[in-house]
């Protein structure tokens, strides 16, 4: 059984006064296996964020089901959603979403504190990942004192510290310069090699070429997918570019 299974997801945004409605997702189905590193690509406005938000239970689908490790998201009660997300998902945002009132350390602890964990345990978990992420020396600093790349690494730590079943990342390199982007992508790769499942949304070809599989979304539908297999990042980059060109020309698969 797949770790994540999205079936026939449809999302319609209704404008407030009952005017025109936007169909952000028409009919999206895909699966993610345990230990996979999947990228979802698409142009701006193609519904990537919408899809990720539905998977993260930040939003509800108009139709269709999302099943994570055998649990149907639509069956999770509203009041349990936050807890579900805390226990099962790690989310990395484009704009970091760190709280300026907390030091990086406390930012990372936040989901564990919400889960009611003991300080000793939190510390132990953080010690386990801080080295990998290269933020051991930054923990006492506040978000405004560190660079964007460092902020994003802290955000990754916050996502990892709960030992989530899957990491969801929405354009994690979107707000970073190219050097920081490379570092972050290398980090994702490393984390993935340690067994962590990752689902990443991006419109950067370079970011996507790191993934083991790339899904293309257009006009609210999954359009195409490429497996990396034994290909190098370079070859993967090339085949993604080709697909994007094809998509832009309006061709079909």
């Amino acid at each position: 059984m797949s770790l994540l299974e999205a079936k026939n997801i449809k999302k319609v945004y209704k404008t407030r006064f009952g005017g025109a409605s936007v169909e952000a997702l028409k009919n999206v189905s895909f699966t993610v296996e345990k230990g996979e590193y999947v990228a979802i690509m698409g142009e701006s406005g193609s519904g990537k964020t919408t899809l990720l938000n539905i998977i993260a239970a930040l939003d509800r689908a108009t139709e269709g089901t999302v099943i994570l490790d055998g649990m149907d998201l639509s069956k999770v009660k509203d009041k349990d959603v936050a807890k579900f997300r805390r226990d099962n998902l790690g989310y990395v945002f484009q704009e970091f979403n760190l709280l300026d009132t907390f030091s990086l350390e406390d930012n990372i602890y936040l989901p564990l504190v919400l889960a009611g964990k003991k300080h000793a345990e939190m510390k132990q978990r953080l010690d386990g990942i801080a080295g990998t992420l290269g933020i051991s020396d930054l923990l006492k600093k506040y978000p405004y004192e560190v660079s964007g790349g460092q902020k994003q690494r802290a955000a990754v730590a916050r996502a990892l510290i709960t030992n989530p079943r899957i990491i969801l990342a929405d354009e994690p390199t979107g707000a970073l310069d190219s050097k920081s982007s490379d570092e972050l992508l290398a980090l994702f790769k490393k984390v993935n090699q340690m067994g962590q499942t990752i689902l990443m949304v991006t419109h950067s070809t370079k970011a996507a070429s790191n993934a083991s599989r790339v899904l293309f979304i257009k006009d609210g539908m999954i359009f195409h997918q490429i497996y990396k297999g034994q290909a190098t990042d370079q070859q993967m980059y090339q085949s993604i570019s080709d697909t994007l060109t094809l998509l832009a020309q309006g061709g079909d698969n």
Partner: protein, 678 residues
């Protein structure tokens, strides 16, 4: 650029920021209206032609000065908060190509518009409400109401002058704020990461120390005169202490809580403690201002209302009977007593002539002088009032000698005293053992008495410094031992005094008439001209009553008006605090929700923060009030008010009313907060 461009920009800027500008302009209007009313009541001819008008108007004049000063500070402060909230917008304009001068022009027109609205609406409301204010004033002071409607050109002129000046200052300040911030800072002004404040141990502890010193001074003071001397020192220490404690101390407290890992890393504490630590430094000052304003309101209202309500008591103490005569002179001689006897006889005769029956009469004489308590002895060789700053007024004491015969007559007792024995009563800061030393003489304490008990209080012990009352076997003999004492100016220190008071069967109008006749009679016919310093007066209680009502009513009225101003300012500070925090927290709660915080968690955390921030100022204000009540009690004694239970009751009621008002305001403004956050 086209004419009318800047005014248009100004109008649209103010419209867009209506949430900030409407309360600000409302406050401006209120200040203008209040100032006009105060000025009108204090300076125009409106309140003229009643006894005590001068005092009452002086009090109102003082009030208009307070409003002018406070209003300036407050509007200044509010407007800078407002401008700081808009720096980003100005930054955008400057990116779009406006220079500092253009920005200043926009600000100029904004200020001009605010000025125009405030002045016209303020004066209109002031003029409209002035009659109401006057009627309220007349009612409180038991004056006849008048039906004349007065508009004073002079008051309008002064209001216009003052507020034009204030708005000019406000404009300069705003222009300065915009001019001295760089464009990049303007754009980033609210995004720029602000370092959470460091716990400043030094300042926090210093603040606590200053605050406690202020309290300590209040608690150490024993007499009203010392209270008067030290009151402002204590008040200033308490204000400074409050600011330091709320700014640094609260950060310190949060930091200490954060150090305690087991406490801090709990769902309920984590978010609220850290965000409080973060904003305390900025909001500490706001909280302290709210706290000080609340304290001022509480102190003013409890003291003035208690004075006003207690006026009849004070009157009765000063004027124990319907008609009261007294005589005094320096030194002591047998002839004084004879003069007193003659005066008593003549006054009674005159009263009978007038057709009054006299009853209930008291006649009592005493001798007194002041000295300085040192090592358990009242020193009379130094003059306390020439000691300069080294003086502790708590050690100044006045000693009163009463004849045993008078004491026995008044109290209906039959005490016998030996030579150098005395009945002793003290108040204030006087230790008493077996004997008491007054100058070079020592008196054996035969028995302690209460010198302020009903029968004895008519000698009129002063309420200003400590007092020692000694009942001695032979007043003449004792007085002669001290009659040689001179103060530093060479004047005789010993003072002889005689009080005579009686009731009649007359109605109030007649009492007043008799009082006037007796006063004239004494002045013209009975005044003992052969004795230089002899002073004789006669007053009726009825006439004095209106004077008391006027003074205390005037104070109470002023207290109410100033309280309104202070409370409104409080409301505005709280409102801006909630709004700005709302905008700050908007993003934060979004993030927390994404990271897995439930809506309930968020609500709980908001509520606990709100409650803490709500409770801090009012709790501090109540503690301040409790701490300064002793000193207020002593200051009120200067007005002859000595009614602690009433003061406590007024204080209690004020706390209750103020607390309810504050709670309502907080509820309303926190709705503004919730609206922004969700």
């Amino acid at each position: 650029m086209k004419a009318g461009f800047y005014p248009k920009m100004a109008v649209s800027g103010m419209r867009k920021n209506g949430r900030l500008y409407v309360p600000y302009i409302a406050a401006c209007i209120l200040m203008v209206a209040m100032f006009y009313i105060m000025h009108l009541l204090g300076f125009s001819e409106m309140l003229e032609g009643f006894t005590g008008a001068g005092t009452a108007r002086d009090i109102l004049k003082l009030g208009s000065a307070v409003i002018a000063v406070f209003g300036t500070i407050f509007l200044f402060y509010t407007q800078s908060t407002l401008i700081k909230g808009r720096l980003k917008e100005f930054g955008l304009y400057s990116v779009l190509g406006m220079n500092r001068k253009n920005l200043s022009k926009i600000i100029f027109f904004e200020t001009l518009i605010t000025w125009f609205i405030s002045i016209t609406a303020g004066l209109a409301i002031g003029i409209g409400l002035s009659k109401l204010a006057e009627l309220g004033f007349r009612k409180m002071l038991a004056l006849e109401s008048s039906y004349k409607f007065v508009v004073s050109g002079e008051s309008i002129y002064f209001t216009l002058l003052l507020y034009t000046f204030i708005f000019f200052l406000i404009f300069l300040n705003a222009a300065r704020l915009v001019r001295f911030s760089r464009t990049i800072n303007l754009i980033n002004s609210d995004k720029a990461g602000e370092k959470p404040p460091k716990a400043n141990w030094f300042v926090g502890i210093l603040g606590l120390f200053i605050l406690l010193t202020g309290y300590g001074i209040v608690l150490m003071i024993k007499t009203p005169l010392q209270a008067l001397a030290m009151f402002f020192v204590a008040v200033i220490l308490i204000i400074i202490g409050t600011y330091l404690v709320l700014i640094a101390g609260s950060v310190l407290l949060c930091r200490i809580l954060q150090k305690n890992k087991r406490y801090y890393y709990k769902t309920n504490h984590f978010v609220s403690v850290s965000s409080m630590a973060y904003r305390m430094k900025r909001n500490g000052a706001g909280l302290a201002s709210i706290c000080i304003l609340l304290t001022m309101v509480l102190v003013m209202m409890s003291s003035t209302s208690s004075l006003y309500l207690n006026r009849e008591d004070v009157l009765q103490n000063h004027y124990p009977r319907q008609l009261n005569a007294s005589a005094s002179n320096y030194g002591y001689s047998e002839s004084y007593t004879e003069t007193a006897k003659r005066l008593e006889k003549e006054v009674i005769e005159k009263a009978h002539e007038f057709g009054a029956e006299t009853t209930n009469d008291i006649s009592l004489s005493c001798c007194s002088f002041s000295g300085y308590m040192e090592n358990g002895r009242l020193r009379v060789d130094i003059d306390p009032f020439t000691m300069g700053t080294s003086i502790n007024f708590d050690n100044v004491a006045t000693v009163y000698f009463i004849d045993l015969e008078d004491y026995n007559r008044i109290t209906g007792k039959n005490v016998v005293l030996g030579k150098d024995e005395a009945l002793v009563g003290v108040s204030g800061n006087i230790p008493v053992e077996d004997s008491i030393c007054i100058g070079d003489e020592t008196f054996k304490v035969a028995k302690r008495i209460d010198a302020r008990a009903d029968e004895l209080k008519y000698i009129g012990l002063n309420e200003v410094v400590s007092t020692i009352t000694l009942v001695v076997d032979d007043l003449g003999e004792t007085a002669s031992r001290y009659s040689g004492l001179k103060d530093s100016r060479g004047d005789t220190m010993l003072m002889w005094q005689w009080n005579f008071a009686f009731d009649t069967n007359l109605d109030e109008d007649k009492q007043a008439e008799l009082g006037k006749i007796l006063a004239k009679h004494i002045r013209d016919d009975l005044y003992p001209k052969e004795q230089d310093y002899f002073r004789v007066v006669c007053e009726s209680r009825v006439e004095q009553r209106s004077d008391f009502v006027r003074t205390f009513g005037g104070l109470f009225y002023l207290g109410i008006l100033l309280s309104i101003i202070f409370l409104v300012s409080c409301v505005l500070i709280i409102y801006y605090k909630q709004i700005s925090e709302g905008f700050e927290d908007q993003g934060r709660f979004g993030i927390m929700q994404k990271v897995g915080m439930t809506k309930e968690n968020i609500k709980k955390s908001i509520n606990s923060q709100m409650l803490t921030v709500f409770l801090i100022p009012i709790i501090f204000a109540c503690v301040h009030l409790a701490a300064v009540l002793p000193i207020i009690h002593k200051l009120l004694k200067l007005f002859g008010h000595n009614n602690m239970p009433l003061l406590l009751l007024s204080a209690g009621i004020c706390v209750l009313v103020c607390g309810i008002f504050y709670a309502v305001i907080y509820k309303l403004t926190s709705n503004a907060y919730y609206k922004i956050v969700s």
